[in-house]
């Protein structure tokens, strides 16, 4: 079965993610939620706006989900990433992983979020309490990369 992997404009429902992966063979079900937090790099955040290169982002999410199920055999995976304007404490990303055993579920969940952050073309613009807003660059390089970087 093709794993659940999608972009979402409506609030993410953690219970539906859990339901999508649960089954009698899975002794462990793990749910990861990424949540909008109030401080980033010492600045007070009032919300985050997420946008994406939507067709590519949806395909990358799907590729990651399928790769995870292949890499962590016997796992079931569901991934949803939110787009649009989110307030504090709203869920930006939800990842559910089920596996017969917990240790693989933990490994798979961690692998999925790191892959997502590395390659899915999604951007976020933080809105600050002081009225400013800025695109977030997790590479910390500002707008400058010295060498071509190709992701495969």
């Amino acid at each position: 079965m093709t794993p659940v992997a999608r972009l979402h404009r409506d609030p993410i429902e953690p219970t539906s993610l859990v339901r999508a992966v649960s089954g009698a063979s899975h002794g462990a079900v793990l749910l990861f939620l990424g949540v909008v937090r109030e401080m980033n790099d010492g600045r007070e955040v009032s919300g985050i706006e997420y946008s994406a290169y939507e067709p590519m982002a949806a395909r990358e999410l799907s590729d990651i989900a399928q790769a995870a199920e292949a890499r962590f055999a016997s796992s079931a995976v569901a991934i949803e990433h939110r787009l649009g304007a989110l307030a504090l404490e709203e869920v930006s990303v939800g990842i559910a992983v089920a596996h017969p055993h917990r240790s693989v579920a933990y490994d798979a969940s961690r692998w999925i979020i790191e892959e997502l952050k590395r390659r899915v073309p999604i951007w976020k613009r933080e809105q600050y309490v002081d009225g400013h807003r800025e695109w977030v660059d997790p590479t910390g390089r500002g707008t400058s990369t010295a060498e071509p970087e190709v992701l495969t």
Partner: protein, 80 residues
């Protein structure tokens, strides 16, 4: 030949548009698209070697382009 160039997030802000149509020679590569962009106002805010995708797959500077390709210039991704 004509290709579509898509810009997102901070790069769209820098160049003041989200989409361009470029006319390029038939043997053009990703590097030629970036060279064209560099001549435009605001391009100084692009990094020397931004990530690029061709038809929704990450590509290299040397990737050859074809008519009607979709070339996306991708700012540092920030999902999660």
């Amino acid at each position: 030949m004509s290709v579509t160039v898509l810009l997102f997030a901070s790069y769209a802000d820098a160049l003041g548009t989200t989409s361009l149509s470029l006319d390029l020679p038939t043997d053009a590569t990703v590097a030629d698209v970036l060279a064209d962009l560099r001549l435009r106002p605001g391009a100084e805010r692009l990094p020397p070697a931004p990530l690029v995708a061709v038809n929704q797959h990450y590509a290299r500077l040397t990737t050859r382009l074809h008519a009607d390709d979709e070339v996306a210039v991708i700012p540092p991704v920030a999902g999660g």
